[in-house]
Symmetry: D2
Subunit: 357 residues, 4 copies
């Protein structure tokens, strides 16, 4: 195992050269608890320094220590206590299993194991208690590590925003149009010729992902079983010419009647529990309500609260269901790397990495 | 009255220098039935040639005859049998009344009289029979002319697409996210600094307009009274960085159950009645169903059928209501000038302009 | 040889599925002299209908006759008297030679043979006389067909604009910043993540291409030898987020002194010779001077004259060299398919396709 | 005079609600030496809090202390030792004079006094010695304050980049194409309908501004007279759909021959003098040379070094003059508010604000 050059917890990043991988590198560069000890990339670039093989798309430069780090192949011998996986879903399944078998906690953005019954799908502010599935996973799979899944970027911001409403009024039905940023499809992603001055009405698989993950995230935990929440969700997912930041227009029908004023009060009153708010990457609040008429906007608002909160606006009655609102969130931070890091921080705070796995 | 230099019906265009006014000029330049005999503009440019006072934004040049035409003030002395009004709603109310009093048929894109009980709000393929309100209007207002209203650009394409479904299955509830093009707000409209790489979640008044007009357009005519259709519509209207072409994602609940296959059959089977299909500006069909997975797209599809049809795609089941689909339409053609001209053509075919008004 | 279904000259299009190939299909669909008898595409799609294998990016639909045409492999057995090659430079060299050996006239947009001494590089309005190189080519290469090259899209509009000035005043030095549209790099071309709200300062190889081709196109023909024009050209080539239409800012130093007024007079006086102006794809004039202060603009002006002219504006003195001006031209029409078709038309008018090759 | 709530030097910002004004507010919010004591805005919003009257376009929120500050009218009674003027050129002339008469040092981004013989036009790294003109100004104008001008945003980054080359080799001739960001024209600036997917070839007055200011900035100081540098500059200024960051392609002819390698060595060797490098807003170096082939790019590179440096790339020979290169710089930071603040810092370091004016 590679030694960490400090007392921090050694972590590795799989798929570190892509757009989300770069966010992991950026966000972990000066993390108070975690330290990157290895990064992996596609086979042909193995052995070359990270800086040479990465089309770095952030304004600030690559952190020096990572820039010089040679790209490695994704294998458990890399070491680390935690592995953040930004692998494509296709290749991720076997690799993530291998790491878990080797005793490493894999926090994965891939869809490879996301919906398995014993894999916790986590948004710390929403369903931290689902982490108990790790016990069942270790028991069933007989491995010392674990696989923890992050929702897809189209789900996280949405659920962060509506979870307080669900707790207060019970969401029964929800129709969402999700206007997703270009960075959500990775690099190179969409051709400029397709999307400049245009909207693409299809994001393959995304509608089903958001619908399924919503029911899982808001689902009930009994012992080590999560029962999907009994709610109907219908999503329209479109790609818009925005660099970063998803915008979602949402109509919701509740079990218990509520007015828009009630909903605003609940959203503005939403607070973090101390075990979350004390985490290094935590936003100051999960939901920011912006009362300006023409907000939130993805370019201006998705990055607020360091990109970790859901920004909600235009809360008003819906003539068909009960409530309409608009949510903006940062797909590469809250919806990807930042969300995964927050989950790792929560697990650390809960003692997951204290002893031997 | 200005003589028409031909046997065509003389028409005038109010607000001819704006983005929609330019579409009237372009579409009427070689119209087989109508001929522009006067154009009006803002007060300070009166008397100067159209070409000098207009920031022409079409690729093809200004038609020669119109280029040299002096801008006039909007007053009935301009003559013409028909007046197309592309005036802003604010100033339009009094002017349009004056024209109707003078015996001119005003086909208006403004919202000034759009929802008055005796003003027909017309989409020829959808509710041509509402034109009978003109009788009531003339009787009540005691004027020889008439005011006929066009729906707002966010309504027309949507209703053109869903009207066949309403006739077949009865729309009960509909939730729409309307992604509207920049040209919909006129020139100069939105600042490039606001909308480049961004989505603006608000279009003032547009949600209410689409909701109200939908109920009116699909309403029942009894005698000379239109009763609003008893359906619930909830709209989210956003501005996206697209030049021309609105894209709308729609979820619909029907009174009579239907499958997506039923809906596709209805949409593909939608045909124009001969009295519409014989009009010069008519599309070949009101709805084009595009089965490609990632269509329709506003930039590629809104201009099909000369911009006069609704292009529908992604017809599939909705987990909350019954059906989901996506509609693209051309906001400045079908949603504005082209739609108004089609209405004028229909009125002409029905003999409205045969005798003295 | 595939029979042409008419009396038109049978032509084939190599690389017909790409962005430029699509322009060939569109422009040739109703051509009065030429008729497409075969189209080729990448190996794996051979045999399937054109419509199924092409990501068609034009607003109007694929012409019916071509839509159903099966994609073929690029081999001389396809027949045709003329082959338009939209192949990538890499694969084009051998294939184009094979066609020429089989007696076919290849008009190529690829760079494969562009700078060979016996290959005419042609802009009909500029150097039609260079076509005489075909004699030398046939003699030297001992083939009955021919290869004729089109300049790269960054060169054609520029030289169309400045050639009248060169004839009048003798260009000695020229500095050009070429702002090139996304479609110039083919599909998918640049990632939307790179170019949205950005300018990319590099277009690999383009600066050298424009510099070399300029000297060749303006070169002197003696017998069957073209001597490069003795002028210095320096180009900065950048990619901008524009769909179609290159914009070039040009500073020129002349051998014979001239004022901006002289230059404007020359550009406005530029006329086509009758042998060009009678060709079906000819613009009405090679250069359109637009005196509006903020024109030409690529989106509004590149398509004027059916995309076949150079639009020039902002003609003014240069404090360093003699003259400054701005040129817009359509890179996929004049700079690619349209330019190649015009060359074929010229060759036909000169009798190249009258007898056996 | 309003008391500063700290020991910092009290400063005011004129025109604080615009896009550049917002940069002043952002950059001065936590400045170690200066503290905003008043902000001014257009007449009709006087008295209302800054946050209510400003269309704030920065991602981070308005600094609390400023958000609550009431907008004032621009009059010397506002106090402050330094006034940063982001006024439009039209209204600025008289107001800035009034402030100087009242003993205040006005550092102005307006063009009102920019080219007057006794007004120093300053880029600290380039011509700090021109500040001596203040003596002459005070003597001639008989006022205790001073007016110091900032170059226009199209000039600063360019001259920051080429000044080391001028010192080393003597610039004789320079041709520049300046691709300028939308924010350079203030809010609302260009209509989205004009500039989306387009390039506008005209920026009124900008070419002349850059040409004149270049000769002034590189001019020779003798006593208190600046003689314009004897060099020829020709500029093409275009607006491109980029939010922030100007990109300029530059061809230069030198008095003393130099190779691209010489030029790169000079640019990479350019260092700040200690009196500049110790200023709070100073970049770590004036010029950053980026050797990546496709850099600099305005969106990715203009913000490097906190937006205060010129980023240079593509340094290569020019076939017409001697050298070609590309420069990116941040128009609202280095080219506006950041540059003005750096000048104020330099003046403070030189003791301008030590005693009574």
């Amino acid at each position: 195992m590679v030694d960490s050059p400090s007392n921090k917890i050694p972590v590795t990043v799989l798929g570190a050269t892509g757009m989300v991988g770069q966010q992991f590198v950026r966000l972990l560069a000066s993390h108070p608890w975690f330290e990157i000890t290895a990064v992996t990339g596609a086979g042909h670039s193995t052995g070359r320094p990270y800086a040479e093989t990465t089309r770095w798309l952030e304004p600030e430069p690559i952190p020096d220590r990572i820039a010089a780090m040679p790209l490695r192949r994704p294998e458990p011998a890399l070491g680390g206590r935690i592995t953040f996986s930004a692998l494509e879903t296709d290749g991720a399944a076997a690799i993530e299993v291998e790491f878990a078998r080797a005793g490493i906690v894999v926090i994965s953005l891939s869809g490879a194991h996301r919906l398995e019954a014993s894999v916790p799908l986590i948004i710390p502010e929403v369903n931290a208690e689902h982490l108990v599935l790790v016990e069942r996973q270790r028991r069933e799979r007989k491995w010392p590590g674990a696989i923890i899944a992050n929702p897809t970027c189209g789900t996280t911001g949405l659920i962060l925003a509506v979870a307080p409403l669900h707790r207060a009024f019970g969401i029964e039905r929800m129709i969402v149009t999700s206007l997703q940023a270009l960075s959500g499809s990775g690099y190179p992603g969409l051709s400029s010729l397709d999307v400049l001055g245009n909207v693409i009405p299809l994001i393959p698989g995304e509608e089903e992902r958001i619908e399924t993950e919503t029911r899982r995230l808001l689902g009930q935990l009994q012992g080590t079983v999560v029962t999907e929440a009994p709610l109907a969700v219908g999503v329209h997912a479109h790609r818009v010419p925005v660099l970063d930041g998803h915008l979602q227009s949402v109509s919701i029908g509740f079990r218990r009647k509520s007015t828009p004023a009630d909903a605003i009060a609940v959203l503005e009153g939403a607070r973090l529990t101390p075990d979350i708010s004390s985490l290094p990457s935590s936003p100051s609040r999960p939901v920011v309500v912006d009362s300006r008429l023409d907000r939130p906007q993805p370019r201006l608002d998705a990055g607020r609260e360091r990109g970790m909160a859901a920004i909600v606006g235009r809360v008003r009655a819906c003539p068909v269901l009960d409530l309409r609102l608009v949510v903006a969130s940062h797909n590469r931070i809250r919806g990807a790397a930042g969300g995964a890091i927050l989950t790792a921080e929560l697990m650390n705070a809960k003692g997951f990495f204290n002893g031997t796995p």
